[in-house]
Subunit: 395 residues, 2 copies
Amino acid sequence: MNFDFYNPTRLVFGAGSLSRLGEVVAGLGKKALVVTGGGSVKRSGTFDRAIESLKAAGVEFAECAGVEPNPQISSVARGAEIVRREGCDVIVALGGGSTMDASKVIAAAALYDGDPWNLIAHGQEDWHIPAEALPVITVPTLAATGSEMNCGAVISNDETKVKSFAQTESLFPKFAIVDPLLTLSVPKDQTAYGVCDIITHVMEGYFNGVDGTPIQDRFAEGVIINAVEWGRKAVADGGDLEARTQVQWASIVALNGWIQAGVHMVAPMHMIEHALSAHHNITHGAGLAIVGPAWMRFAANHRPERFAQFAERVFGLSPEGKTPETLAAEGIDAYIAFLKEIGCPTTLSEVGVSDELFEQYAKDAALVVHDANGNLLGRPPMTGDDIVEVLRSAL
Amino acid sequence: MNFDFYNPTRLVFGAGSLSRLGEVVAGLGKKALVVTGGGSVKRSGTFDRAIESLKAAGVEFAECAGVEPNPQISSVARGAEIVRREGCDVIVALGGGSTMDASKVIAAAALYDGDPWNLIAHGQEDWHIPAEALPVITVPTLAATGSEMNCGAVISNDETKVKSFAQTESLFPKFAIVDPLLTLSVPKDQTAYGVCDIITHVMEGYFNGVDGTPIQDRFAEGVIINAVEWGRKAVADGGDLEARTQVQWASIVALNGWIQAGVHMVAPMHMIEHALSAHHNITHGAGLAIVGPAWMRFAANHRPERFAQFAERVFGLSPEGKTPETLAAEGIDAYIAFLKEIGCPTTLSEVGVSDELFEQYAKDAALVVHDANGNLLGRPPMTGDDIVEVLRSAL
């Protein structure tokens, strides 16, 4: 367990914290680029309240609206262009994971003269890791990606259909202002997909990390237990502020590095899902609800004890009289039952994806994060055939 | 659950990480003040290896040796004086909690012209909260106080026998270099006291925080479960590197704010213990093994369900057929049995403390952190009589 850990993001958490936005931004700059998505922040009134807070603090602003659910590098380029043209010196991300991820890369692209895709293109010839970026304040309106308090960003390339990511220190938000009130209006389906995203973030480290991390195991199990309990309540009653608060806190700790410290996580479920949603218009969390269980059945064959521990500690299933294999399968079944209960799809046919491009997804999934043999990293590493087999089991 | 969170300390964790000291210090300054305690780092060879790493990186150094187990403000003044005289620009804390705490305040005192006690004297007339400090690198040689990755420091006043603390952003270490190999030579008794300190840090938030923090509850329980399991092993075999590693990781997460985020923790067990060890030469962790269980019995009367949850989740005790009160008492008994098993004292008579100064301890304990009525903060708040009663039950 040798590792470095660093996370300098200042977190401002709690119902009503949006009102502190202006004060926070004023401490970092004079003119903000406010980045938003498809318009839900305007319909809900969140945008107006954010602007009001900025104005009260004497901060000017420009806007970059319309960032896509799977954010495209073209939107990043557009945002960076507005920053330069308008002379913005701070970025406010007001929206879900796609808005926050785009904002982080806009903040770096605004200070970089080359093609913004170079900031993303892991391991490719023109890869440029950004050493500096404008200050970013994340204001999530959805509990899901955990992007609010980490330095990662997932971006797609509209032309090449490649979905990849940037992850480096300069992309840490300066502040995350996390106000559960902003999530009260999130619809049932998006709430459920967010819960699945949260749980899958935790699972990636839990199932794909190194051995010998018993404290992190308990942290991970604790987050999943609560994401299930409070996620169920948030889906049942979107107006339940306590449930929204717990789910949003789960979203943060699921991917701010606390649970993953020393775990050396890799994320095969995410890589496979990214390959899918780069080709199809699937919400990331919904894609994970399909890929996750299929991957779990595959991985449990290789490591049944770990999945048995998951079944026992997270779903409280009794190990008595069962083999690890049986207990592991019961735990995965319990997870699938939960996903169905909250309304997530769990098969590809439910989202209209056939086996036509399976070979392509398999190739794309292993494009960025692979071992020397080209296999997708994870426990166990996956060949292209393994990925196709997992996808086939999810049809 | 409204709160702000911030912890910018860079953590370098793992066996062998001491070798990175020079490289880290060289990035922060040219001449280091190396602060040490009673000499164990010299006997163990740790000091020589640290100096070797500094020299290899071209860093000069001066030394401030002999910081006491309960660090005195006079040692802080002496350290700050050496910094000024020798022109040091970075502080390396090489030792246990007392060395790290003294180092943090030395770093602030070196940039402050007034009486260093003003940096500590909470709420008193001359209180001065330090806005700046020299960079500090903590290198713990004992898993206990968690001081390595937080901005707190407990300091005693030799003259007035008051033990108080400083806690502010400028005191965050820039780096914590945490190498479990350095703890292999810690004797059995100090190992056990460290484990008790770790567990008590977690308990303070768990038993004295606000309601409605279920994720933090699971984090807290997870750390205590592992501190018990691996603490037992580290005491049984000091050379067990895996046990030392897990205990040291527990020490960090027990007090770096992750578990306490949103919990609004207060620390009555610590306040009572500080009053004791300000008057007697008791190792802090040993004092906590005495005060902790006595306080728990008192507090369980007011909140049996919480202590029943502790019994069930941490010690795996079955709630079947039991009242919360009975289950709570069984959990406290299990904790006391663990403390005895690893060799901690659990009564005042074992450390030679009588009831002579009970009234004084009660007054001192509530001196700094109290409510409007002067009661020591906690759940429940404690009158002077409550504190005396708890101490009497520990005789």
